[in-house]
């Protein structure tokens, strides 16, 4: 928890804190075993603070670029029509023709797991055909990552380091620590180029001891939006294979990044094809818009089906004392959509439309910056991919964006592109130019 306070850029720290309740005033206050000396207030959530300031702001052109969820062109949350159709179907017909809310089993709903791994690895994937996957439904990407880290700590030893890109999503750090791993970083983001430090990355992958545990973001790196090219991924994968590293692939944006689900899974599939030791956490929060339903899938590629069975049995041992079995609702929705010949392509198009809107906004932002007369290099706005854009703005510039222009973003200059609309992109470009010229 001390680590959280050190991390200033947080993609999605939820609104964790409320302001302190007024202290009850009843004479001699009983001495609580949980008194203040023993239990301090947890660290403040920077995104919460940002949201609170934004909500109080009465300026009519204000923009909130801290949001970590998709917004439509009117700045509103969007429940996908294919999801709505699946919800209605469940209410009308039940699940597999029956109305029941039974426990799913420790590793969750089979139809969901089957559809998820096909989606990630490809329908013709050898690892699926050869039954080499240990698969478990989990609590979105966080649940998948925590499961991976618990497994590593248990079977590679407590304190085993995991190498994470610098920077990474803030929550990755306490996930690994609470699971009993220790933290290492590899170079990733180059401040100078506002791009990937590929040479540094390769050096660090090579310099780590053989058989280290490395985490990669499959696509749409959070928080930078900077991804390796396919050629770079091939080199990374080959190097990892030669080092015998174990890889955890965090896949939160498949389909949502480029609009092409197979393309977004290229890196993941390259790692697998090259015979790396791989496990994958998939989140359906963004690509299905199922944020609050906490639906994800964790899979571990075993060297053969017997190993996959052993690994699966141990994943169950980790899950049982955490929450026994996962929540059914989101899994039923995703499975209903993916398995329906009409809803599946409909959903795919809807997911693509989200990716397209974000890409369109990136283009619009860059061209508007040029129109404003900015001579800075804004190439990264369109070369970065996914929800977020690491703008390269300094904390001082970010402060001016807020104070002078009522545009809110995190201190590290990260912009949530989901907060950009055709109605506000010109104003945004204008403000950015004023603060950076």
């Amino acid at each position: 928890r001390a680590l959280i306070s050190q991390v200033s850029d947080c993609a999605m720290l939820a609104r964790t804190l409320r302001t302190a309740a007024p202290a009850a005033n009843f004479g001699a206050r009983a001495m609580s075993r949980w008194n203040a000396e023993r239990i301090p207030m947890g660290p403040a959530d920077p995104i919460l603070g940002l949201n609170e300031q934004f909500n109080k702001d009465t300026f009519d052109k204000k923009i909130n670029l801290g949001v970590g969820a998709y917004r439509d062109d009117n700045g509103k949350p969007w429940v996908l029509p294919s999801v709505k159709a699946a919800e209605e179907k469940l209410v009308k017909e039940g699940w597999n023709g029956a109305f029941q809310k039974e426990y799913a089993g420790i590793t969750g709903i089979k139809e969901f797991n089957d559809a998820s791994v096909k989606f990630a690895y490809g329908a013709d994937s050898a690892v699926i055909k050869e039954k080499r996957l240990a698969v478990a439904q989990v609590l979105s990407g966080t649940g998948g990552g925590r499961l991976a880290f618990e497994f590593f700590a248990r079977f590679l030893g407590k304190g085993t380091p995991i190498y994470m890109p610098d920077p990474t999503w803030a929550n990755h750090l306490p996930m690994a620590k609470d699971a009993g791993m220790s933290l290492e970083t590899y170079r990733y983001y180059d401040k100078k180029t506002v791009g990937l430090d590929f040479a540094g990355l390769m050096e660090d992958v090579k310099g780590a001891p053989d058989g280290s545990v490395f985490m990669f973001h499959a696509c749409a790196h959070n928080p930078t939006g900077v991804d390796p090219t396919m050629e770079q991924w091939k080199e990374i994968s080959a190097l990892c294979k030669s080092k015998g590293h174990t890889l955890f692939i965090d896949t939160a944006y498949q389909g949502f990044a480029s609009g092409d689900a197979d393309k977004d899974a290229s890196a993941l599939r390259q790692f697998v094809a090259d015979g790396n030791d791989v496990c994958v956490a998939q989140s359906f929060a963004k690509n299905f818009g199922l944020y609050g339903d906490r639906i994800g899938c964790f899979s571990f590629v075993g060297s053969n089906s017997e190993e996959a069975e052993r690994i699966l049995s141990q994943l169950k041992i980790i899950i049982r004392p955490m929450y026994s079995n996962p929540p059914i609702h989101g899994a039923r929705i995703v499975a209903t959509v993916l398995d329906d010949p009409k809803l599946n392509p409909q959903w795919y198009a809807e997911c693509k439309s989200m990716a397209d809107r974000i890409i369109t906004m990136r283009d619009a932002l860059k061209s508007n910056l040029a129109k404003e007369g900015s001579v800075k290099n804004w190439e990264h706005v369109t070369s970065q991919i996914g929800m977020f854009c690491f703008s390269g703005m300094t904390p001082e510039q970010v402060g001016r964006m807020k104070d002078e222009f009522h545009i809110y973003m995190t201190k590290n200059g990260r912009i949530s592109m989901a907060g950009v609309t055709s109605k506000n992109v010109e104003y945004l470009a204008h403000a950015m130019h004023q603060c950076t010229k």
């Binding site: 309740a21 709505k84 609590l139 049995s313």
Partner: protein
Amino acid sequence: ADLRSTLVTTNSKKMSRWSHVTEAPPDPILGVSVAFKADTDASKVNLGIGAYRDENGKPWVLGCVKEADKMIDAELQAGKIDLEYLPVQGYQPFLDLTSEVILGKESKALKEKRVAVVQSLSGTGALRVAAEFIKMYAPNTVVYCSDPTWGNHFTIFGKAGLETRKYRYLTKKMTLDIDGLLEDLKAAPEGATFVLHTVAHNPSGVDPTQDQWKEISKVAIAKKAICIFDTAYQGYASGNLDKDAWSVRYFADELGLEIMVTQSYSKNFGLYGERIGALNIVTSDASTVPKIRSQLNGIIRPMISNPQLHGARLVATVLNDAKLTKQWNEELKIMSDRIVTMRTSLRDALVKLGCQPPSTVFPDWNHIVDQIGMFAFTGLQAKHVDILTTKHHIYCTKNGRFSMAGVNPGNVEKIAAAMKDALDTAGPSDS
């Protein structure tokens, strides 16, 4: 690429870094359902997992829940609600209601805002968060669980790195061993954690009387114990929510103690797979509430980030609607009444067959009727269960625990006959 991966498959068996990962045994409780599902016999009976079944052996989605599902869907279709992330602590309308369910409308702790509450993944999730919190702030505590208890208790507290011990609970004839219980808790170190079952003890169905709860509370106070009330059956046990909450309210309100209370809505709302529950921490000092909650959030965030919407919306929708709440109370009574009826039916069927009690320690089969809640601790043992399962396709946990929800008029005689056969074949239970 396929060829490469095939080569890797062949060669890597020797080289795999996961060769040392052993096959873990199936979960003793959940594994029963897996075995049951695999059985193709038409007359098979599942008395394993604690999930309610109606008189035809079918799962039952409560009418109030079905209605709530429709209402939520209507709002979603109309664009009135969305599927955004919840805050880490959970769905506020749910949080506003859940503590009151267990602590009661008249709760002083609630009125004085002395309850820190977070949404959890049902009872398991609440217990795990509580265990991690205790590990952070009372790391040297020793956690006492009843013998027997729900097996996952030991796993959960052990996983959080806490030392666990047992306190005696049952006499040989399945009554409460209050003397043994009090002796063991009195011998606990100061600051120990006592895991208590609010009502309908799992697996035994044997609960302390009110006077016995008072005795337990005296020891808890003397030991400055952290009391955790595991509440999985409120309303489901007697059919009356307030009656089933008596132990919690006695400790929290009448005695004004700081306690933790976990809630599950799996059984009493039939929301098993939705995984909806809560962890309540009652404190004597309201100013500690936001701090406690912030630390609970700090535990939850690296586990799941934030909890799931649907189950929380279902519970909140029902509890916010007077008509649906009334319906819920009625449906609770239906479930608990049916279980009570089946206890009597099973006892009567055993008597009619002239089936001897499980051992000479038992004067009769009345313990099945005296016990309360989902489970009957029959007194049968593993050797009997093996016969029940392999010969009669009747599934239950090896400790002879029957989920009474699995008993119905269509199978009660088969069950009684099978029990007689098991006892005739394998002899009485060992003492």
